[in-house]
Point group: C2
């Protein structure tokens, strides 16, 4: 590499690291806000956040940075190694995303984001969809404009999907979701109609919070969360945040009447946390070391929450500990009984409470609606009816009001269209990763049964976490699993598992 190019690349690294570190600060402030901040401090905090956002925006749109990127891009790419090429590619994408959209539009969107959130909270409280409808309408309009600035050659909804799930598009997702829908609806119906329904009432009771917390910490640590490189705290909604792979902060919430909810939230967030802690560090605070898409991130949380922690082997390993922790409720519960109870399938109104079989239908419903909003085939004012009809068609339940229906999710209030598909892509990736691991590790079940999670974590570290952003999602999934996104693997898994639990016959 010539001296000149070397210097320019070094300058790029410096600027990208600065942006990344300021972003890490934003992560800490966000965590602080959700976990620690005194009630009276929110006003000042939002001004601090906005000052920091302003600085990050300045740094990210610095014309000198743009010129640097262009000049490095114009150089012979063979001069760079894979990590360097990745950093260049990511820097260009980020710079374009930040600079292609006119300032006024960015501002208009950002104003609607903070206003929209308040309108949504109130509308949901008062069960008044008509109050929120104008926000959705305006957002769709602005997000279409925004998409046209980013890439006028792509469908606006695809551009929005791409923000969360780089490389994904309606062309890829539609056939996949079609398979899911076609198979899930009858599967869930069969489960509902089965004469055998597991007993799960022992999951409800009185579970002291301090015991729940201690249990969560033990299991999170067993799985591999490094508490010297992270924390676990309490927030209203569980999340995984923090400021750096060496400072990863997961949260959960506790319900005294239900320990499984909190425990599985801890395991879910631990899955995200392991991804963050496992990101490559030797490359410094650069894009090549960042995590991939929302879908891949979700695959890591769901891998642990569902593929591992809802398996019978996992229950076998931990049932004694559960029973010792909550003897009143669990001391007489058998392994099969426990396993079936935590795997009960039950169509419900609320996405975030859904089980792994019904969840994708919540997602598909939203995806279809978003598509319709963006292509003009669905009018905002018709959303409540469309929502409720689809719920009835797909899951056999009808929301009694909009608060439990179309108003339940926060996403649209912040303009996050195109986000929902990632949840179910994540579930499918999790299943494929699990299958790939099982194929290469015949002892997988024994590992889980004996609490030997280190092997599993190492495999994820090596194959996924440490890869940073070197590959596209397609490339990564292909490399790790030998195939592309494949809804059939997910459906086979569900049918096998729930066919057994619910004693279903005639499933192929």
């Amino acid at each position: 590499m010539s001296q000149n190019i070397k210097e320019k690349y070094g300058q790029l690294v410096k600027q990208l690291e600065e942006i990344s570190r300021l972003g890490g600060i934003r992560g800490i402030l966000h965590w602080d806000q959700e976990v620690i901040l005194p009630e009276g401090g929110h006003g000042a905090r939002s001004k601090q956040m906005s000052a920091l956002a302003g600085v990050i925006h300045e740094k990210s749109t610095d014309p000198d940075l743009g010129r640097l990127i262009d000049s490095l891009h114009a150089s012979d790419q063979d001069l760079f190694d894979a990590n360097q090429r990745c950093n260049l590619r990511e820097a260009k994408r980020d710079f374009d995303m930040e600079t292609k959209v006119p300032r006024e539009l960015v501002q208009e969107i950002s104003e609607l984001e903070s206003r929209g959130h308040h309108v949504w909270i109130k509308a949901r409280e008062q069960n008044q969809f008509s109050d929120f409808a104008p926000v959705i309408e305006k957002f769709v309009e602005l997000k279409k404009q925004w998409a046209n600035h980013i890439d006028p050659h792509k469908a606006p909804y695809d551009v929005n999907i791409d923000v969360f799930e780089r490389g994904a598009s309606m062309e890829q997702i539609n056939p996949v979701f079609k398979v899911l829908k076609a198979e899930l609806v009858p599967l869930i119906q069969a489960i509902q109609e089965s004469e055998y329904q597991p007993e799960d009432s022992f999951l409800n009771g009185d579970f002291p919070v301090d015991k729940q917390e201690a249990l969560g910490r033990v299991i999170s640590k067993d799985i591999g969360f490094q508490f010297d490189q992270g924390r676990m705290d309490v927030s209203v909604h569980p999340f995984c945040g923090g400021g750096h792979p060496s400072d990863v902060r997961i949260t959960t919430r506790y319900r005294r009447d239900n320990f499984a909810e909190s425990l599985y939230a801890v395991i879910h967030e631990t899955g995200h946390g392991l991804y963050e802690q496992g990101r490559p560090r030797e490359e410094g605070d650069l894009p090549s070391g960042e995590s991939m898409t929302m879908g891949i991130h979700e695959s890591q949380s769901l891998f642990w929450e569902r593929m591992i922690a809802q398996s019978k082997s996992f229950c076998r390993h931990y049932l004694d500990l559960f029973a010792a922790t909550f003897p009143e409720k669990l001391k007489n519960v058998g392994l099969d009984e426990f396993y079936e109870a935590i795997n009960v399938i039950r169509p419900s109104l609320i996405r975030v409470e859904a089980d792994e079989a019904t969840y994708p239908l919540h997602v598909i419903l939203r995806y279809e609606i978003e598509q319709g909003l963006f292509d003009g085939s669905i009018r905002v004012r018709d959303l409540p009816k469309i929502w409720n009809d689809k719920m009835e068609d797909y899951l056999g339940v009808r929301p009694p009001n909009d608060a439990q229906g179309v108003l339940q999710d926060v996403h649209w209030s912040g303009g996050a269209f195109g986000y929902f598909p990632s949840y179910s892509l994540g579930a499918m990736y999790a299943c494929q990763f699990y299958n790939a691991l099982a194929k290469s590790a015949p002892d997988l079940d024994r590992w889980i049964e004996t609490g030997n999670f280190q092997e599993i974590k190492s495999w994820l570290n090596k194959n996924i976490h440490s890869q940073g952003r070197l590959f596209s999602t397609e490339e990564l999934v292909q490399r790790v699993t030998g195939s592309l996104l494949d809804p059939k693997q997910f459906m086979e898994y569900l049918k096998k598992k729930y066919g057994a639990i619910y004693r279903l016959k005639g499933l192929n």
Copy 2:
């Protein structure tokens, strides 16, 4: 005000607020680092801190800001109200401080700060002054150069004092400390020689930390700390930090064998916290609303810790609660006994553990040494001997090693010369403020006895906290107390109080 000046002033406000908000973020990160940060996260955090410091430096030295300040300064000052003039004055001072010193020198100092800290920690651990001596030597040299850039017409040590205690100087401090030294040395000697020595062994014992914490929270709240605008947590060294008057974070530490230490640390930090929470908010995040010097800040913590909480009235109000909290140790302790025990005077080697009578001598010793280092009359290599001799002269104790002598304080390792005087200025201001309040409020003792702290807090809010930076320290003290800094008031208070406790005769 003309449209042009109005616009310019508005622009100044915008830039100052941005700097202030980024500073608030720094406060939160610092708190996080001391209280919350996982062990493995410190490396990444220090890079984040330095990225933020870089941004704040850029913003604070922006040439456009300098031109704006100059142009507003050149305008007719009568166009501005008192707050606006204050903001202008402070902005100019800060800008000058940031820009007068050449970049290389700033960098050299900043590098020595982080290196010096590590050298100091190791030298103290190994009790090896000679390892630390070169750091002190270099710092004195750099801080002299630095001072010459800031103000070549002032003595370099005065310029350093001015950073922490604006307006103070050797000319002001020398005669004050002379009075203190002349009177404290014999007073402490008399106390030492008194036949009556209070019994305080019941302050040592086994005090469960959860009870200590609950007690601290009750008293902090009673005094007026608003827990919806702040927090209380644990750190290695107690401090008051946070990001905003609406987000003030105090910390303490707990020793299981000594509840008074933690309790009085809580009260001390609550005093700082009340100042921060009481800063004027209507003016926004601007210099006119900031707190004043270190000495005035310390006056607020010592006001509560010593003038109020070590008084007999305070003990009268809380002794029942103390006894109910720790009955094993305290249920048979009488009021006078308790009051005398928490006011024991005992010369010791360590400044941070010193009582209110011996503390100023620790400060004066350091002040005299710093003066000598800056005027060249003291050589660094002689410090251990000078330190130990002075300890023996002033307090009658001689450190057995340098770790408990000249190496005990963190300040010099970070180049903070001129900081120590503020502690004792604060103690004297606290006493004067107390006297002023007592004069205007004949019921003061009854207020304390009955736990009516609201009146006291309101008086401090009105007369000190809400004044922000409108006045110089001299002006403020004159306005509130009717006199300038007056060591005699402090000495009279000590002599009266300890004369009674130690049954001393013949004190004037």
